[in-house]
């Protein structure tokens, strides 16, 4: 195995690559959520109302609300923010030490939310700045899991068909396989976890996860 450092990278439209830094949510990240993200969503919402078209599902999220710690039941959640230079690129809400649905006695890092920032998505109003953000975030989640002694195990519910298609595409033709077989009927570990039962549950295999993480090692 190579000993180079991991580089979690994203790409611009000119095919240049940029390194991401990851930090736990703090006051520096707050205005990116409450001002920039929220205002872009408000603008997009207004534009869709004017054209009588439906708002994308991600734009109905309110991550600026979710990052507040005082909501009962959500204290164990950790918000990780991905930065590209001084600009936020995306974020994840993760829960450590969640029991594996496959390997009894093992724990996983559960991804409650993972999202690219609005400016890294194509919309009716703007073109994305960076791409390949989703794969970089997933790879970093595996690294977190490894760092926190969960062996690279990551679990999640795919919230919709588009998210499920993304994860299937990431896992396509990979050896060792990235995910165990898809499961349904799995309750999420969050206070709203019973609403996730109908969604497809995915859990990485330790070998497949580490192999995917190694894709981001700059040898």
């Amino acid at each position: 195995m190579s000993t180079g450092a991991f580089e979690f990278v994203i790409q611009d439209d000119a095919e240049n690559w940029y390194r991401l830094d990851f930090h736990v949510y703090d006051d520096h990240a707050k205005p990116w959520f409450s001002s920039v993200w929220q205002r872009m969503v408000v603008a997009l919402d207004a534009a869709h109302k004017q054209t009588a078209t439906s708002l994308p599902e991600w734009a109905q999220w309110k991550p600026w609300d979710w990052c507040e710690k005082k909501r009962p039941g959500y204290e164990p959640r950790q918000t990780i923010v991905a930065w590209c230079g001084g600009q936020m690129a995306g974020f994840m809400n993760v829960w450590s030490g969640i029991p594996s649905q496959i390997d009894t006695g093992q724990t996983t890092l559960y991804i409650e939310h993972v999202a690219a920032a609005p400016w890294n998505q194509n919309t009716e109003l703007w073109r994305r700045k960076y791409r390949q953000t989703g794969t970089a975030l997933l790879a970093y989640a595996i690294k977190l899991s490894q760092d926190q002694a969960m062996g690279g195990r990551v679990s999640l519910h795919a919230s919709n068909n588009s998210a499920l298609a993304f994860y299937r595409k990431v896992a396509e033709k990979r050896t060792p396989q990235l995910f165990y077989g898809e499961k349904s009927g799995v309750t999420g570990p969050t206070p709203h976890g019973n609403h996730d039962v109908s969604k497809t549950y995915l859990e990485t295999t330790p070998a497949g996860a580490i192999n995917f993480l190694e894709d981001y090692r700059h040898a």
């Binding site: 690559w17 408000v42 979710w66 001084g86 939310h113 993972v114 390949q132 999640l156 519910h157």
Partner: protein, 303 residues
């Protein structure tokens, strides 16, 4: 601002991927489900004649009355329905705290005022040791969602002419007081409530017609159907405990004594020093008005 850190590194999967796979993985909006949120009441004030501004007083008054109505809704949710209830001071600090609204940042370019209930569940009964031992008491926690729900149902009952007999007098009078903002510079005040799943649970628009409905409900609660007389003046003394006030009226040196029932507390609580119109039975002595048994009151806008 830091420059984005450029690198010549490409992830291994990307180097090995076809153009089709690269494109398929380029876009990723996100995955996850909406977490539970705080129950909310969202107020929208619609200025008259398309104005883009409002008096600070109007905005603060609407926020204040929204909070008051939330307190009365909480009282119903916690203590049960009591149409006679009007005195907010006797509500109890626990209920007031349970129903405290926190305002979120306003949306730009609008008078949309999102407010949420951050309170933990309310436990109405503290079981005593004997009852706990007997195992027959399970205090049921009341979620703040029930405040938003009752808030919505109060407005729904008024709008549809439903079970208005269940609405407390205090709540009715609080809604009635929104009329001040409507008379001043607002065409309507909209209220929407949201549950913890961010689903809208009710929506009502308060306009002059709505206030007329409230007036009729309050009118029906008058102890007497006698034709009421009215007098206008300024409240120069107020004793809420005793249910008494003194009214100075034009053209008369002697102040008029007024007596009122607790159901008028919400209206009269802030009437001291203000112009007011009182309705009720008047008593006279040698052509001078000496007292009024107050059945109804309307505080004038002093602006």
């Amino acid at each position: 601002m830091h420059e984005p850190p450029k690198t010549d590194f490409q992830p291994r999967w990307y180097r090995n991927a076809t153009a089709e796979v690269r494109n398929a993985l380029a876009d990723f909006s996100g995955s996850g489900s909406k977490p539970l949120n705080w129950p909310r009441i969202v107020t929208r004030i619609l200025p008259s004649s398309g104005s883009s501004s409002l008096a600070a007083r109007t905005v603060s008054e609407v926020i204040d009355l929204t909070q008051k109505l939330a307190h009365f809704a909480a009282y119903d949710a916690v203590r049960g329905l009591n149409p006679d209830f009007a005195d907010m001071r006797s509500m109890g600090a626990d209920v007031l705290s349970f129903s405290r609204l926190t305002i979120e940042p306003f949306e730009e370019g609008s008078f949309v005022i999102p407010a949420r209930f951050e309170s933990a569940d309310f436990i109405p009964v503290e079981p005593n040791a004997k009852e706990l031992e007997a195992g027959n008491i399970t205090p049921e926690a009341i979620s703040a969602e029930s405040i938003a729900s009752r808030f919505g149902s109060i407005l729904d009952e008024i709008a549809t002419g439903g079970a208005t007999h269940t609405i407390s007098t205090g709540a009715l009078q609080t809604v009635q007081q929104l009329n001040r903002a409507l008379k001043r510079e607002v065409v309507a005040i909209e209220f929407a409530t949201f549950d913890r799943r961010e689903q809208q649970s009710s929506y009502r628009s308060i306009d002059h017609e709505f206030i007329e409905r409230v007036d009729r409900v309050i009118q029906q609660r008058r102890p007497s159907n006698d034709q009421l007389e009215s007098v206008e003046g300024t409240v120069t003394a107020l004793d809420i405990e005793q249910g008494e006030l003194r009214l100075s009226i034009r053209g008369q040196k002697q102040r008029v004594r007024g007596n009122f029932h607790t159901m008028l507390h919400p209206t009269l609580l802030e009437s001291l020093g203000k112009r007011i119109r009182l309705f009720g039975s008047l008593s006279y002595k040698r052509d001078s008005m000496v007292s009024i048994q107050i059945q109804q009151a309307e505080v004038f806008d002093t602006e």
